[in-house]
Amino acid sequence: MSQINSEDVRKVAQLARLDLPEEAVEKYTSQLEKILGYVAQLEKVDTEGIQPTTRAVEVVNVAREDNTLKTDERESLLALAPQREGDFFRVPKILSD
């Protein structure tokens, strides 16, 4: 029983802004199918009567005080960006014409 088809793979690639060559779609469809099949083993576990959880670590209410810390990191952070212009990050044109 197939859980994923080539359309799903194209959509996921598009959402992730990945430029997927057509020949890779076939390959990834079968690979993702295998991964999903592997994860699907979890469905066999009996979860009757167990509260759903969103996480594996049981911590709640982790919070910090409202204090500021001046870290002069602008230069090093801007240096990591592919492009900068003065003190701004520079990004390519957002809308295509």
Binding site: V62, A63, L95
Partner: protein
Amino acid sequence: MSGSEAPWEAVIGLETHVQLGTESKIFTSASTAFGDAPNTHIDPVVCGLPGTLPVLNEKVLEYAVKAAMALNLKIAEHSKFDRKQYFYPDLPKNYQISQFDEPIAEEGWIEVEVAEKGKETYLKKIGIERLHMEEDAGKLVHAGSDRLAGSTHSLVDYNRAGVALAEIVSKPDIRTGREAAEYASEIRRIMRYLGVSDGNMQEGSLRCDVNISVRRGPLSPFGTKVEIKNMNSFSAIHKACDYEIERQIKAYESGEIVVQETRLWDEGKQITKSMRSKEGSSDYRYFPDPDLGPIELSKELREIWRAELPELPAAKRHRYADELGLSIYDARVLTDELSMAVYFEAVVAAGAEPKFASNWITGDIAAYVNSQRISFSQLSFRPSQLAEMIQMIDAGQISGKIAKEILPQLLEHGGSPKLIVEERGLGMISDPGAISLIVDNLIAEYSKEVEQFRNGKTKLQGFFVGQLMKKTGGKADPKMANQILAKKLQG
């Protein structure tokens, strides 16, 4: 009643983003200061670098819960953060940390007072769907064009990225542009009363998006929903809604289709314009943020925070009208800004009659405060001093005219009205002996006029009152002066 002949009605809902006034950002210790040089308030967490861990600012939680309580929302015992994925360069991480299916609060309402010139003021309860916490995005500057379309590239400033927001979603209970503007201004008033946000729309600390559709009466199905953005004043919200209602009705009546889209309010042209958007229907793929643990609010903590809530604007308006006997209009003006309400209450507590206090505060004093661009809390003229002045007028020690004369000095420097009146010799002369003496002198001085008066020319009493006021610098108690004059003139 439904069908094509029923009158059109608009269905409006608002999404309001309120910047919570904390010192540091929602998940990191970078500063939230406004107006600094680009990218001065960024750090590895803001930029979403690998290996960084966001940690919730406890003040954000407190402010969000207090805001939710003030909006009569039910506070969730269990709440969590989710990632909302979308690609836009104002988000350094390509996802926004927000709350999806377990917001901090749901199901509330506020009461707004809808006042329009020439129409009767009415109260309206507007439902609130939810309030959730999320992080703000950065700011883009589009280069090569003043608009997004046509720009060659964009520049990004992440100072605002990660600033804490409360997003408040109303129910579609709003029917007119005026109601939408009143709702938004009441939300701001409540946030300011709570001290959780400055609500400054020009600086973007309060932003409203409007969802709006029209239909043929309440029994018809909803029309196509259009979103409007880019309104940075309450009057812009009012006008944008009214414009959009008209536009949609016209479209339907001329057989056109209203498309589901986002439109921008153009303040210069006073119209809404379709916004070009590349993204198709969005697919945010929300999932729980694994970096942030869930929030569980104990009953004790909720009770502590609830007890710290101040009296809110609607409650004050009711109290001023019901208990202090003020008009709905005065109650509304006095409670608009918390600092004015606090000042008013202090004046009343110091013994002034509420209606007189209201008149002075909303009149001359508010005019002074506005012209000086200060707050009532910064006024040199203290509430106890205004109360003293009002009581002096009440007791007949000074006239309203004299009060206006000493007001500029009081507004500027404060001080005791009693002392100022004494120093400047402005007190009313209400000592019968003193007035009689002046009258005797006048009778001696103007014997000819006295003679004429006694021969029936009683109109001359006005002449004597004038002379008496001239001699006393306008300070004689007018009622007493008239009585004594009348008696002595008759001889």
